[in-house]
Symmetry: C2
Subunit: 128 residues, 2 copies
């Protein structure tokens, strides 16, 4: 599965949230969040290209085609994360985490959740 570009990722994010959506719906969502408005045909074109690449499927049975993400969210995030860590932190996920936590405004709950995960990982270590 090919990695999405930044524009494609924005569209995938909407599809992950909505499940399935028309170009109109996606384009509206994109323009809700966004500063600079994106033209309808721009979104359409991008989604057509994504269909060609296999990132999304589409149901063309009604006039307004309904698109659905094929690319999985976790898998896609993992792939992008790998690229980013390689380029920016020399491949060290730990460095990334340290930098991310260092300036995050993580809430106590979030910190607790991360700590819990770490403790689980440590348990796995011990079992191995």
């Amino acid at each position: 599965m090919q990695q999405p570009t930044e524009g494609e990722l924005a569209i995938l994010s909407v599809l992950w949230r909505l499940g399935g959506a028309t170009v109109r719906e996606v384009n509206d969502r994109l323009n809700d969040d966004s500063d600079k408005p994106i033209g309808y045909t721009t979104t359409l074109k991008l989604m057509q290209l994504m269909a060609d690449k296999g990132l999304v499927s589409r149901d063309t049975s009604s006039r307004s085609h309904v698109y659905t993400a094929i690319a999985g969210r976790e898998r896609t995030q993992q792939g992008l994360l790998r690229r980013f860590v390689d380029a920016t932190f020399g491949g060290s996920r730990t460095q990334l985490v340290l930098r991310a936590l260092g300036e995050s405004n993580a809430t106590p709950d979030e910190l607790a959740e991360i700590k819990r995960l770490i403790e689980e990982l440590e348990k796995e270590e011990n079992h191995a």
Copy 2:
């Protein structure tokens, strides 16, 4: 300070390691790690553009100009991280961290270091 592109970041990484370096030195390093060789003039051009953008400074007193990073490593990583988290994890650093740790091969030492950081952050929480 403008964010570097991916190619520029690769060059900055070398400069951060070496302190100051000529185009030849940077190009050699890039081609050490890399699969696909990068032409000398390609690196030269990129570094010239970086000088224009203020990402690096250069000492032109000798024939081989010596380049030095102006962009700081931590600051640059922070900036790139923010962009990435916004695009890929909807701005949630916590999500990023959870995903990064979930599949990392972090060593026990690294896990311990992250835990230590979290505990420090929790202490700060309490003080506030």
